[in-house]
């Protein structure tokens, strides 16, 4: 029987049925890094912060972490929406233009 099979170059082969592995819990989906979208960067004043976790629970991008005794922003994914600043009950988060940072998004030659 003649073969009507298509030879697919190895580098073009995809997972069968488009079924892909899930990321790990608390992990990240590195094929879609979104930190480069950011115009305003959330900056946490750790003196003011009461660790109430509001910013953490409301972040649509899982970009705020509870790191030991401090809250931290995952800049690789933070889109700069500002929700965290808006929900912070003590005003501990300031939104600072990326331009003000030496390594700010707009100054990066290669985005992450």
């Amino acid at each position: 029987m003649k073969s009507y099979e298509v030879k697919i170059a190895k580098e073009k082969l995809l997972p069968e049925a488009g079924i892909v592995k899930a990321p790990s819990p608390n992990g990240e989906q590195e094929s879609m890094i979104t930190g480069c979208w950011r115009v305003l960067r959330p900056v946490i004043d750790h003196e003011k912060c009461t660790m109430c976790r509001s910013c953490w629970i409301f972040c649509p991008d899982q970009a705020i972490e509870v790191k030991g005794e401090e809250m931290a922003v995952k800049l690789k994914y933070c889109k700069g929406c500002g929700i965290c600043a808006n929900v912070c009950p003590v005003g501990a988060i300031e939104r600072v233009p990326e331009l003000d940072f030496e390594g700010g998004v707009v100054r990066l030659e290669k985005l992450f």
Partner: protein
Amino acid sequence: MATQKVEKTKVDRIRSLAKAPMDDYYVSGHRTCAGCGPAINYRMVAKAAGKDTIFVGPTGCMYVANTSYLCVPWAVPWIHAQITNAGGIGSGISAAYEARIRKGKYKGKFPNVIVMAGDGGSSDIGLQALSGAMYRNHDLLFISYDNEAYANTGIQVSPTTPYGARTTFTPPGPVVPEGKKLWPKDLAKLIVGGHPSVAYVATASIGYPIDLMNKVRKALNVEGAAFMHIHAPCPKGWGFPADKAIEIARLAVQTGMWTMWEYENDEYKINIQPKKLKPVSQYLEAQDRFSHLTAEHKAKIQNFVNHKLAMLGIKVPVEAVTA
């Protein structure tokens, strides 16, 4: 459907943010708009449900914006459904586990099956599949995340779009000054009203995460089908700044535009009810989609809300409109 009940794990109540599960199963790395309400909802639902979960994701923003480039942001199994048939796909997964566990073909726990459908995929083109799943009482939780439009196709009117909203299919003009002319479909009531097997129906809002997550857990703990209707403001579609989704979500509850209730054991229970309601105009004026409305239109909406609250038995005064 099952003749012989397969055992399921039960999950506990979350008492405070400090006690909320640390683990995220909806992780960083998705291209939902900055400040997306439905993405916040996904995160909370996935957190509350935990690792033994399978998500069904019909076409809509929570499919398209989440799964770009052959990758997924969920740490638990997820399957795409058509916008039409998420209730069917969910029913099938649940039925498969019933059969496979009962017949000894699967060794493991019965998973949480959660359908995460948009308002279009649940109140309109996906309504039949939702109703079928509820009627047959498959063990699953169907969530309608409500961003009040067919958002992913560019914000077109859906049955849950409020009266008076501008969408790309209800543009206001001299002949149609109010934009959308119809009153929204009440999906949660529709489920309560006609699906006697469903043991748990609740509304929730991303503005109230502890309430939302506990309702998800309650819904997962009941045997058989459960339904949740979750208000999830969409900055792009509604026309408000990206940092305001939570503010808008809370305003909806504070004005009575969104009500928070649970239906269990043949009874409605109202949760999170402000002592005094703010006038709906405050909510409307915070969003560009209502910017064309006249005082007359706003009064009509206020009347509609008053009536809706009365039907639910909520009797609270509305603050006077301040100019």
